[in-house]
Symmetry: C2
Subunit: 253 residues, 2 copies
């Protein structure tokens, strides 16, 4: 939970028109004039270490970001310290849309790995709506997509048992990483500790550890060198009681 603001003075980062993310199969094409508008709104390219507060609970002046690289998560805490991880953020995800629309952040956002963020000033969010309706529409679209992910997490925590929750989380992260080209040989970088898992699944640390180890020993997945390999995706899907979900390209802002 280190508070760092290592603002990279290299304001440009990568030009948005040449953004490597945009080439991934996860994302839709976008007309050049919209990309140039995004470029003109981008005021910084910021790098933060793992464990940094990107937005803290109650913050009123949170900017709007796109996660360029690395992982992060949104969370909510209770007064007595219990913490619920609401969802994980991967490259291309919007960071802080809710916080920038509502007057104060109702949640916190923390980096899970070192991250790079494209920074857009929250003051100009309305300008985006006024001048680039297509982008505004995609902003709303991305907001709805995030809500849909949280719906799924709520269903998991409310209805699935420990083993089903783990399976559902693995499949969800696997699919998202895959769409971003982060999966090679069924394995992808997996920066979560068991405490993160427990807080995301609504389980105690101990029970998470036991169930996690059991599923690993049962051959569902393997973990080495910080990379997770799904050994039996089909079985995992069935164990998660998941309905099929389509995977169409999405907007990148």
């Amino acid at each position: 939970m280190v508070m760092v603001s290592t603002t990279n003075r290299n304001r440009t980062g990568v030009p948005c028109l040449a953004c490597p993310l945009r080439l991934k199969p996860a994302f839709k094409d976008k007309p050049d004039d919209e990309i140039r508008f995004i470029q003109s709104m981008k005021v910084d390219h910021r790098q933060l270490p793992a464990g940094a507060d990107i937005i803290h609970p109650g913050q009123e002046d949170a900017e709007l970001y796109t996660l360029f690289s690395g992982w992060a998560f949104r969370y909510k805490s209770l007064p007595d310290g219990r913490r619920q991880i609401l969802n994980f953020l991967l490259p291309g995800d919007l960071v802080g849309l809710q916080a920038s629309l509502l007057s104060a952040a109702q949640h916190g956002i923390e980096s899970l790995t070192e991250v790079e963020l494209c920074v857009f000033p929250r003051r100009r969010t309305y300008e985006l709506f006024a001048r680039m309706p297509a982008l505004a529409y995609e902003l709303a679209w991305l907001g709805s997509r995030e809500e849909s992910l949280i719906d799924e997490n709520l269903t998991s925590v409310g209805q699935r048992n420990a083993q089903e929750r783990i399976a559902a989380l693995l499949i969800s992260l696997y699919r998202r990483a895959d769409a971003l080209g982060l999966v090679s040989e069924d394995s992808f970088a997996f920066p979560l500790t068991q405490q993160h898992l427990a807080d995301a699944l609504g389980l105690s640390l101990v029970h998470t550890s036991k169930t996690w180890s059991r599923l690993r020993r049962a051959g569902l997945f393997a973990l080495s060198g910080g990379r997770l390999k799904l050994l039996n995706p089909r079985l995992t899907e069935r164990m998660a009681l998941l309905f099929e979900s389509e995977r169409r390209p999405r907007p990148l802002i």
Copy 2:
């Protein structure tokens, strides 16, 4: 789960400029030209009985609605029949924003009481973004607000025990009903069965019944004639482990 489409042929319903909801303290003022635009987008005023499917899971042509009167809820089901209620919808809430932006509804929406809906064609959602950026912004704002409610529910189900979950739900519904002027003498119409409660709280029906009765006998609330009266809101708030939350007016579309 009756499928009825009692389309009220009286297309007008109430003129939006004279919408009685708009007078409630829950809602912000809006310029007349925006209200007239909303009126021009409204294609129907539809009445459905309790238990009707407003949007069914997987539906691809769901319209966008504003809930004019009555209660509804969003839910997600697992293949084996377990159901999670994601959030409750009260008058003034948008219905089906997520479904109208994404290509198919990832959830269902069902009426809890008889409801009246203002119907807006999903085909014209983009037109709204193009022609009325202020309204588009408020649409996104309402989407973020709904996400924020789901965040709270996820935190409840993931971190609170049965009694805390019930307290948190009661406070949340009480505050929302209050802002709509639906509360008189600390009591408001309460159309949920214990099955709805159980599905929203992620608890079994039996345990919900036992905890619910225990809190009622403990004097937290009283239920008679379908109306719920919160007898000790302060205590309920403390029991829910809730942070204080501001209540500013919100947009009505």
